[in-house]
């Protein structure tokens, strides 16, 4: 079953710390229980987006490496 995405953040071609910083902004803009899709090319994102989700109490639904330096994350806003 496809997960419904409520908002997409295109953070491709942004380097650290901008993908996480913009993710935080984007998450604030959606409602609780809605899902944010994050697209990134920064290699640090693979560690940073999960770490940010964990420490801020959000749910990382998935993290995928679609190709070389091409990442996709789904984060559910829990608070």
């Amino acid at each position: 079953m496809m997960t419904e995405v409520h908002s997409t953040l295109d953070a491709r071609n942004l380097s650290c710390p901008m993908p996480v910083l913009k993710s935080k902004k984007a998450l604030k803009a959606i409602e609780i229980n809605q899902i944010l899709e994050i697209l990134a090319t920064d290699p640090g994102s693979m560690a940073d987006i999960p770490a940010w989700s964990r420490t801020t109490g959000q749910e990382l639904i998935s993290s995928e490496e679609l190709g070389p330096k091409n990442f996709r994350f789904l984060v559910k806003r829990l608070k």
């Binding site: 650290c16 710390p17 996480v20 910083l21 935080k24 940010w52 801020t56």
Partner: protein, 136 residues
């Protein structure tokens, strides 16, 4: 989530950039951040600060590549980062009163994201309130 105190006394671009990077990691992870700028770092906060020096390094290749990346806009400037973080989380930015007095600076002479000019007692208080203190 927690609280950290960042102290910076350097006006070197690489130190200020590192400070802003650490602050951004903390703010995005919901950590409360208090920054105390001292000495040369206060001068870097002047609205009319002179042209910013290039990043320096003991390794010429590092300086060359980082400065090139800055020119190409691949690194977000520390001032821009701090400005963004103010909107995003709990960040307080202060400047040391002693150096502002010596340089004849008022709060209005400093960048708008500076919250206050404070002394060492405030710094000590913040150090005691913080879970971690990091200096640059």
């Amino acid at each position: 989530m927690g609280r950290i105190l960042l102290v910076c006394d350097s006006g070197a671009t690489d130190k200020l950039q590192t400070l802003a990077m650490v602050a951004s990691g903390a703010v995005t992870n919901d950590v409360e951040v208090y920054i105390f700028f001292m000495h040369d770092a206060v001068y870097a906060l002047k609205k009319d600060a002179p042209t910013e020096p290039d990043v320096t390094s003991v390794f010429p290749e590092v300086a060359e590549k980082v400065n090139q990346a800055r020119k190409e806009g691949k690194i977000v400037h520390w001032k821009e980062l701090l400005e963004d973080l103010k909107e995003l989380g709990d960040l307080t930015i202060t400047a040391c009163v002693q150096i502002t007095e010596i340089l004849g600076l008022e709060k209005a002479d400093l960048l708008p994201f500076v919250d206050d000019i404070v002394g060492v007692s405030s710094l000590a208080e913040q150090a005691m309130l913080a879970d971690r203190v990091i200096s640059f």
